[in-house]
Symmetry: C2
Subunit: 361 residues, 2 copies
DNA sequence: TGTTGGCACTCTTTATTTCCGAGTGCTAAT
DNA sequence: ATTAGCACTCGGAAATAAAGAGTGCCAACA
């Protein structure tokens, strides 16, 4: 059953007003501001019906109306005006993006920090990585008891580790091991690195000193840490800006949920795919702690078959329109810079460097 | 002018009581609990004098007494019983330490997280690095337009970067560059990498494609990011556990100061040296935002001429004794594991790996 | 001189009451 | 269907009252 045009406008007015005052909104205010030509009494009737239909509710008899989750949902889906960013805003985002991506790389910690600053809400960023494999091993002989393992991954990430042994190894052994590992350990998944494989490699190399074990455990570590989605939360404290979190206990609950990794956040379902900004309103969230907050999520292409997710958390009364616009823009910016082509975009002169090393949070 | 023995005991009793109730403590409570054989009236007289001397104050006439910064200072210096950790506690810390240090390495983010969990206060970790130099360059030829830069630093850290060029380079060129960089760019500081040096290297290599520039800018980046002290804050939200931060505004101020890097925190003076735990009480802090909080700091040996700092922030009414004991233990544990000897401690079998790569926050 | 019980006084906290007004729902008129 | 009017409700603020915790001081005492 569809809502009349007028009901929609009224609902929108309520949500808009509530979003910026955080106070229940009354019929009179709507009649005056929302510029539809009827009096408060009429509005009252409509409001009563909207309450009956479950779009609004009132904290107590004789208070203004407040949107329900259902009301927000409709608002987000149909009513809200898709906000465009002002020129200054988008330029600001671009500037920061360039700045970040120049010196460091796409560390999710930067992305989340940026999102949080932009929206003034706590933000979380995470990436899923496709199954990654090792493409190439290099062992660099440094000294009799020291060498460096360098590993190139299929997502074009490089990882390394300095190994110091209690005993000496000669360069030949190192070279032999490198060859063996390149032959046996590349292009295979974590699960394929079995004790059997390790054992046989060890024998082929005549390695009696456990170096094979060291290298393969590094390989395992790298593969598992690369495939595990990494997450980073920042700006938890911004919650305290919101009047709904003036209660320290409530604030604390959510904040510690967030800082505690809260991977449950938006890490399910096919959220990564859609290029649309998604909104999860109050009870639509799975995590108990988020049942009366909202989450706005955008996903971006992080290059190399990796997708990233940016999420922002706030009260249900959150400025969906503005947040969505900002995240959309940010995600697009990231995709444009990180994603897509193997070939570096034209005009990147001093930025031939595409990827550096990374450490997970 | 020294305090009488009894005054000291009374002061200690006040501080102890206040630390765990967070409420002004009255004469009666002391008379009953602090087991010194005199009545509340006597205590009252003593309290009045302690107030006059500036060790205590009362929020208003007819309220109990609360320690002043001066009072806490005396307490910390002389009165508090240096707490020893219980066996369970120290075992717990050790266990976590081992766990952390095994898989990842001494990333300050882990250290700060650990400190925060242990003390239940926000914590910050940071390190100063001595001037670091590059000890060795390796360039790994991957494909015609791709190579990896691997750099070994004087602090035994390894950094790497994958470089993809818009054009082809042959392996000979890569090798030539590696030789040149090893000859010209090792064991020198950031400031010694001048445009002149870069230019002359470029000419010697017959490099017309700007590869020299890429490599040297990476070198610069690595050197500067390694020498800049890195800091990491965690557990800001734990502030909300403290009754003194029930006021959201107050909490918010401090939290955003902390999350905002708050490098001003304890990053001055020769704090890094002393092996003692330091306490900064309320107004003793330099940062305005910390004027009514306290900071407890321990420093540890992070190996390779690097020292690290662990700091914990809380209300002036903080459990100095417990926090100090925990930090002391934690710092010692870290020093033992990271610091000192070049040689890996005996008995580390599966842990031959000493250092992995690192990324700064 | 130092200690102690007693007591009046102060000032905060908490509970109770009162009051005000925003906003509603309903009804009757348009 | 819309609207003006009006009685009614209910939460929140302000005002008032009561309760208690703790002090300071005095006078008595060892």
């Amino acid at each position: 059953m569809a809502l009349s045009e007028r009901k929609k406008r009224i609902l929108a007015a309520v949500v808009d007003a509530y979003i910026d005052t955080a106070e229940p909104v009354g019929s009179k205010a709507i009649a005056e501001n929302a510029g539809l030509g009827c009096s408060s009494a009429t509005i009252r009737n409509e409001l009563a019906e909207l309450v009956a239909m479950g779009y609004l509710e009132q904290p107590h008899t004789s208070a203004g109306r407040v949107p329900t989750a259902k009301g927000y949902r409709l608002y987000v889906n149909e009513l809200m005006d898709k906000q465009k960013l002002s020129i200054e805003e988008s330029e600001d985002i671009n500037r920061r993006l360039n700045q970040k991506l120049q010196e460091l790389d796409d560390t999710i910690s930067d992305v989340s920090r940026l999102a949080s600053q932009l929206t003034n809400y706590p933000a979380m960023a995470l990436t899923t990585r496709e199954a990654v494999t090792i493409v190439r091993f290099d062992l660099i002989y440094v000294a009799a008891n020291t060498f460096i393992i360098v590993v190139l991954l299929s997502d074009h990430t490089v990882r390394n580790k300095l190994v110091r042994l209690p005993i000496s190894v000669d360069e030949k052994m190192i070279r032999k091991l490198a060859t063996l590992f390149n032959a046996n350990f590349t292009h295979i998944g974590e699960e394929a690195i079995t004790p059997v494989l390790i054992g046989s490699t060890e024998r082929s190399a005549d390695d009696t000193m456990g170096i094979t074990a060291v290298i393969s455990s590094f390989a395992l570590e790298v593969l598992s840490s690369s495939s595990a989605p990494a997450a980073f939360v920042s700006g938890e404290n911004r919650l305290l800006n919101q009047p709904e979190f003036r209660d320290p206990d409530k604030a604390h609950r959510l904040m510690s949920y967030l800082s505690g990794g809260g991977q449950l956040l938006p890490a399910e379902s096919g959220l990564f795919d859609s290029s649309e900004v998604r909104v999860l309103i109050g009870p639509e969230n799975v995590a108990e702690e988020l049942k009366d907050s909202s989450v706005v999520i955008a996903s971006y292409d992080a290059g190399d078959n990796t997708r990233g997710l940016i999420g922002v958390v706030g009260p249900t009364r959150m400025d969906y329109s503005a947040v969505a616009a900002k995240l959309r823009f940010l995600a697009d910016g990231l995709s444009r810079r990180l994603g897509g082509g193997e070939a570096p975009p034209a005009g990147m002169h001093n930025k031939l460097i595409i990827k550096g090393d990374r450490n997970d949070e």
